[in-house]
Amino acid sequence: MRFAPTEEHTEFADAVRSLLADTCTPADVAASWGGEVGSHTGLGSGDGRVRPAWDALVEMGVLGLLVPEQHGGLQMDFDALAPIVEECGRVALPDPVGDTAGVVAPLLATVAGQGGAVSGPAAEWLSRIASGATVVSGFGAAPLVPSGRTADAFVLFTDDTLVLVEPDDIESRPEDSVDGSRGLVRVEPVSGAGLELASGDVAAAMRAVSFDRAATLDAAMLLGLCSAMLDMTVEYVSERRQFGVPVGSFQAVKHHLADAGSAIVFARPLVAQAAHLLSGGHSALSGGSATVGEAAVAVSMAKSRASRAAQLVSETALQCHGAIGYTVEADLQLFMKRSWALARSHGDEAMHRARVRRHLLGL
């Protein structure tokens, strides 16, 4: 029994952290914002990407982390990725690391593996992902796809079929998110276009596990965003003085932040468990190997609590910042807005709680 990331995973995540500290500053995130659909949310005229960070992650092998070795990847377990995605959250990296590396890559690996083939289109895309191609998925409840404006390809589920499509194959139009770095597009359902990856029950099962992977990585990203918001708030209230004392010395502020910290602390082990079970690990508490249903419950516990933490931590951070936080010039907003989007991505708190409830009570 050892409930902690392996040394290898920790070292990898630490390396990612120092790499991102250099390549993805708040200024870089702000510069990636774009408001081309006529809204007022745009800080800049970016496309929702921070390419130096993305390139460095590709270089390091992060995008190919779950890609089999024969396709140029590192062939590691899914739970190696969660701490890395948490690091991406800590700097609010907008690029679709989780989606490409953690959702699409293992899906394509399954497809490529099922045919027993080491070549073919799915295998080809796997190699391209390991080398930096952006492939995003549209498994959310709404047909909204983040990073869709710059994606090289999309994996979609339409008419009981899983397909991989390229931008020319589909209709899509940009949508404005409250978070100007999301690069959101609304994808219209299309029939017949693109590469069919699976159909029928097989496709549905693949979609289900992909949804769980995506939700888990959203939760990991939220942990990073929340940690960053808490840290920047602690720093701010320790320095900001009002009434002759630091704002952070008021008991009300202390208790707000203690509660924010608690939300993160007690969500984190749920996220770690979810990632572990999705890697085929044993269930910590029941003691046995986890069934698909148990893994899904673990995912739902993780995502519901991470989503709830996002709301509490973001609102607390803003309240403790006061009016200074209420401006687009404060870094805080970059993290808050991302957290609002991810809290409802791949199932919100209520949807995931309902899944746990059905497991417990059958209703």
Partner: protein, 398 residues
């Protein structure tokens, strides 16, 4: 207990409703953007033309001498009709009560009609970079200039709502450099086109240019001439250059009257939240069948709706008290905490119903971001809870 409206109140309601139905514009851009502000200004002038801008003011200043009950009815109808936010609200709801209470007759006659007509557009200059929640930490100063007969103002104000679009600022400046904290402050009225004023707009959380920093560098504000025998035109010319409201070094007392309006009844009429609650219930009805919408979301909608009813009834009780001579006083801090957190609950409930579409930059997400400012501005809710504990419940300060 008598929960019926009189015939004249019902007639007033009918008149409001009809006029609003005929005149409310639809789809105005946000008043916190430059182009939106201009569109809102037209609306404000239309309100003024038909005497709906300031219903509770005297007729001489553009009002209808409406009672508090009628004012409540107006607000209810205004928001139910989906009418736009009031870009003039900081003047009308925060400054005007102070002018009514502390201004000279000449100041009232000069400033109030221009305010109700949306000629002068007022923003507040409370906060400074180092004086947010701690308003008494103000360091902007006014230095006496006896030769010129007035004061020279310097310093920086910030988080000034719609400051980039307004024409005038009201705020506190330190006139006695020796005095500490809330002593030695004076309440000034300052035209933003005066020499030495620089205004820089900046983006609020919701992306609108709704905030401004106002820099004052040796801005001259004249003394108000003695009204006895003064020439009316000359008086007006002086007052166009600003002035002091109330007594020198008594600005804190004057300002507290204003912030109490901000927290109390006038700024946040229940109609606004009931209108939001109604839209929320409509949204819930439309989405109730969606697979992503669960029972707990509908419960949250119900709770938020009850909040709005409770707040409305509580206001009726406050207004009853006021009309019978009992001021809510520090109890208005209960209202501030309640409406600001209710507004968040209303918007959170809506975003939850919207699910993955919530992140779209639509009206509910905009409204949520606006609601997030509620617990911060007009005295943070932490400060309000201190006030409730100390001044309503009587807990020891230390």
């Amino acid at each position: 207990m008598d929960l019926t409206w009189s015939d004249s109140e019902e007639a007033f309601r009918a008149e409001c409703r009809e006029w609003l139905a005929d005149n409310v514009p639809s789809g105005l851009p946000s008043g916190d953007t430059r182009e939106g502000f201009a569109a809102h200004l037209e609306w404000e002038r239309l309100l003024h033309r038909d005497r709906w801008a300031v219903v509770s003011w005297p007729e001489a200043y553009g009002g209808r001498d409406a009672s508090l009950w009628e004012w409540l009815i107006f607000e209810e109808e205004y928001y139910a009709a989906g009418a736009p936010q009031r870009i003039t609200q900081n003047g009308i709801f925060l400054l005007a009560p102070t002018i009514f209470e502390f201004g000279t007759r000449a100041q009232q006659d000069h400033y109030l009609p221009r305010m109700s007509a949306a000629v002068d557009l007022w923003c507040q200059g409370w906060s400074e970079p180092n004086a947010g929640s701690d308003l008494a930490g103000i360091s902007s100063r006014a230095v006496r200039d006896d030769d010129a007969g007035g004061w020279r103002l310097s310093g920086q104000k910030t988080w000034t709502t719609r400051g980039a679009f307004c024409t005038h600022l009201f705020g506190l400046f330190r006139t006695d450099p020796e005095a500490q904290r809330h002593r030695g402050l004076t309440y000034f009225l300052v035209p933003l086109d005066a020499d030495g004023v620089t205004v820089r707009g900046f983006g609020r959380l919701d992306g609108d240019e709704g905030f401004a920093e106002v820099f004052l560098d040796d801005v001259f504000v004249p003394d108000i001439p003695d009204p006895e025998g003064a020439d009316e035109a000359a008086m007006a010319t002086v007052m166009d250059r600003g002035g002091i409201l109330g007594e020198v070094n008594d600005g804190w007392g004057v300002a507290m009257a204003t912030t109490s309006s901000e927290r109390g009844l006038t700024l946040r009429s229940p109609g606004r939240f009931r209108a939001t609650a109604t839209r929320l219930v409509e949204l819930a009805s439309r989405r109730a069948g969606d697979p992503g919408v669960s029972g707990d979301m509908l419960d949250a909608v119900t709770e938020a709706w009850i909040d709005a009813e409770s707040y409305a009834l509580h206001t009726l009780s406050d207004v009853t008290g006021i009309t019978e001579g009992v001021s809510p006083g520090a109890r208005s801090s209960y209202n501030k905490v309640f409406w600001s957190e209710m507004d968040l609950r209303l918007h959170r409930a809506a975003l939850d119903l919207l699910g993955p579409e919530a992140e779209l930059d639509g009206p509910w997400m905009k409204g949520y971001q606006f609601a997030l400012s509620g617990p911060i501005y007009a005295g943070t809710n932490e400060i309000q809870r201190n006030i409730i504990a100390e001044r309503v419940l009587g807990l020891p300060r230390k």
